[in-house]
Amino acid sequence: MDNQTLSRRNFLKTSGMTGAVLSLGFYWPGNAKSAKIVNAAEAQNFGVEMNSWVHIDTSGKVTIFDHRAEMGQGSYQAVPQIVAEELEVNLNEINVVFAQGDNKKYGNQVTGGSSTVRGSYKNLLKLSATAREMLIQAAAAKWGVDKAECYAEGGNVIHKPSGKRFHYGELVDAASKLEPPKEVILKKRSDYKLIGKPLRRLDTPLKTNGSAIFGLDKEIPGMMYAAVERNPRLRGKVKSFDDTKTRQIPGVKHVFKVKMGVFNTYREGVAVVADSTWAAIQGKKALKVEWDDTGFEHLDTEEIYKRQREALQTQEGLAFKKQGEPSEIIAKAAKKIDVTYETPYQYHAAMEPLNCVAHYQDDKLEIWGPIQAPEWVQDYISKEMSIPKEKVILNMTFLGGGFGRKAFMDYPHEASVISKEIKAPVQVVWTREDDATQGPFRPGITYRCEGVVSNGAIDAFKVKMAGQNNAHWRGGKKDVPNGSASEGFLKPYMDSIKNLAIMDIPFETPIPTMWWRSVYASTNGFAYESFLDELALEAGKDPLEFRRAHLKEERLHKLIDKMEEVSGWKNRKKGEGFGTAITECFASTVGHVVKVSKAPNGGVKIDQVWVVMDCGWYVNPDTVRAQVEGSVVMGLGAATIHEVKFKDGMAVDSNFSTYQMPRITDIPPIEIHIMENDADAGGVGEPGLPAFAPALTNAIFDLTGKRIRRLPFSLATV
């Protein structure tokens, strides 16, 4: 199986396809939500190049494109598993190739928002069924029989009455001349042979013998290696530099100032280009750079949170949602809850540090790298470097983790600028220290939550947030509230709580921020779900029962039933250390129950985590489970270890020695249940994360009576 990104021409060559090929793809008129399925001839009529999603050659070999980044979340498995189902081929007979960046061909290719499956599965099913129908039609015509007497199975078309069969390869020539049918009948979920099954991932063998090519593994002829010493204050400039010692290091070939874009601002650094990664890194360490850090504040963590807390006490903010009279009820209430939750800045910490290969030539720029958002990179570089977008060729590699950080343009932009300067292909390698300290980070946010309960229910509910709005970094308007202010919070609460306000206080710092796995749900979830727990206890209600009473939706009640059933919730004893939380994220709802107990040497130990995931239609339950397991582990780190601290405008921790990761010794047992229903597909890669932290802190309250309102906290010293 070839995991390289290939141009169509090379693809045909490399994949060994000869003669006729049945290729089907989509045509995306404008920004249409659904795509029209086309073959090569039709694509020509539309004036677009065929996106060739599925190819079958005369040997019967099927090759499909994965249009999204594979960063661990399983697109490399999910896309083929969907296609193979309706195409009626065996999964292990499919070649998977990463599509190049081209949103005209493939539609939205930004791998974010847990959108790969939910954004494309309906089209993929239809496309694959269309190809199958064309092959059946071609076979029926050859045999001169009614196509209703034929069916497809395992890469063959079979004539049921006679038992005659054609291999797909024998049919592609004829099928490729047919016009794709306008309507095809899709299988019922109950008839699926592949979808819904825990099939093994196609990329696993590549990842057990070192053959998967990640960005850092990409090598092209004549490639140089570069490391860059960048301004540690995230948006500063280079005043001057002394490279005397750098130039003495054998292998160092060039040293020059370089500027990269960070959204609407720029960061400067000094690039060291050498003939090996090691020489480049040594050269970078030997640099003496004087920075220009004027024109923006150099903040400390303490100052950021002081300002957020002050803002929450003195400002009302912009209304994201306001109904009834929450403020009035809270003002008059004899008893109310008024609490503040604080969440830290977070670093993505993908195991593969940022890197990018770029080759700038006179007429084009070609990029290879671990990239989540190819079209954004193309757009940005096209604009910044004045190259037509179609001349910015973007090749995807495997990503050694992404978590949102690799959906940026800065590192490919910088690599492109360096390649242009040295007139040669270059790989820019970020050291772990660069990766950890340069951001963008997930913003740290403080929430003030005020509420009143009466008669066992929520009477007034008001949440104000003060924290950076990622949209501002992309030129978003500053007089509108954060559009993600309720992300994580279950929408039906907004129907049942008549007096409700969700407010956003605009808050800025010079620290670049961006999304991090599950985005605002990762911070909102902690505030909303801790607050709901406090309200439930104030109302004297069982936390799950309290939620059920406020969530008037059958699908959610089923989720809660399942949570109760699997965790033994109803049989728990008071103070036994059970906590729960439910959040919504990217069209999936996930409930966590966490059980904790007192650790023998002090502090708290997590005994068990139960997760119930309702992601609607899904492809591979094992991938869903893997993503939830990973989300819990990442959530555990975020809740109990991780905080990016700033001192004098710089990120303090620069490597895993002080920004420590959860290890195999830290992981509690995790039991995962997936809800079965007919709902549309929801996200899988991120929704498992947000509810973990509040379920854990709610459990700790149940055990100890201590309410944790700031993350991270130490399990050892609770």
Partner: protein, 217 residues
């Protein structure tokens, strides 16, 4: 602590070793700076117990104790089977285990990360050709010990790897002990120089290796 296998017995303050000590004291008096590893003169002569001085010995041990309980020494003499790390002596991140020979276990052997020399940079593994913990059968725990307990333990042949006074003296110049004074970037040095430590170590030993009173730490 390279030799630890034989559980020895014998009188710690034999005439033989006392003689050795007296000579060493003389050398120290001449000048600690002249006292280098390869110059340690250890001869076997005879000597009376006249050099024993519990006041001086205990006083010197105060310096010894201060050094041994500093992170550079204590971190590899932990109470448990996981070494300590950093100037705050936290448990070694990733929890490498001692193993029977003190050199780690499985994929987590000391020398997998700790090279022959210090790795450059902050928070990088310090190095030494013989990097290890005391072995499982002779743990020589410093962490949590009072001065009294530690002094007793150091000269107890059952607990110190069967080291007699001669070997204890030699141990002051053991490569790993010396590594404490070359701790790698960003790490605090022991509270006194190696020469001062060694002077105190020898004074303590040759004046009778008296343990401070139980309450004196």
């Amino acid at each position: 602590m390279k030799r630890h296998s034989q559980a020895g017995k014998g009188d710690l303050f034999s005439v033989k070793t006392a003689t050795v000590l007296s000579i060493l004291v003389f050398i120290i008096a001449v000048g600690a700076s002249a006292f280098r590893k390869d110059e340690v003169a250890v001869k076997e002569t005879t000597l009376s117990a006249i050099n024993r001085d519990s006041v001086e010995s205990v006083k010197a041990f105060a310096t010894v104790y201060k050094v041994l309980m500093s992170p550079r020494c204590m971190n590899c003499h932990p109470a448990g089977d996981v070494p300590l790390q950093g100037d705050d002596s936290h448990l070694h991140v990733m929890g490498p285990k001692r193993g029977h020979d003190g050199k780690g276990v499985y994929a987590m052997k000391c020398a997998n990360c700790h090279q022959e020399t210090n790795t450059p940079g902050l928070h990088t593994p310090p190095g030494n050709p013989d990097w290890h913990l005391p072995p499982a059968d002779m743990k020589m725990v410093f962490q949590g010990k009072s001065a009294h307990e530690l002094a007793k333990q150091l000269v107890d042949k059952k607990k110190n790897g069967n080291k007699d006074i001669k070997k204890l003296i030699e141990h002051a110049d053991d490569g790993l002990v010396l590594a404490g004074w070359n701790p790698g970037e960003g790490r605090m040095l022991p509270p006194v120089s190696h020469a001062e430590f060694k002077k105190a170590w020898l004074t303590w030993l040759n004046k009778g290796a008296y343990a401070p009173k139980k309450t004196s730490n």
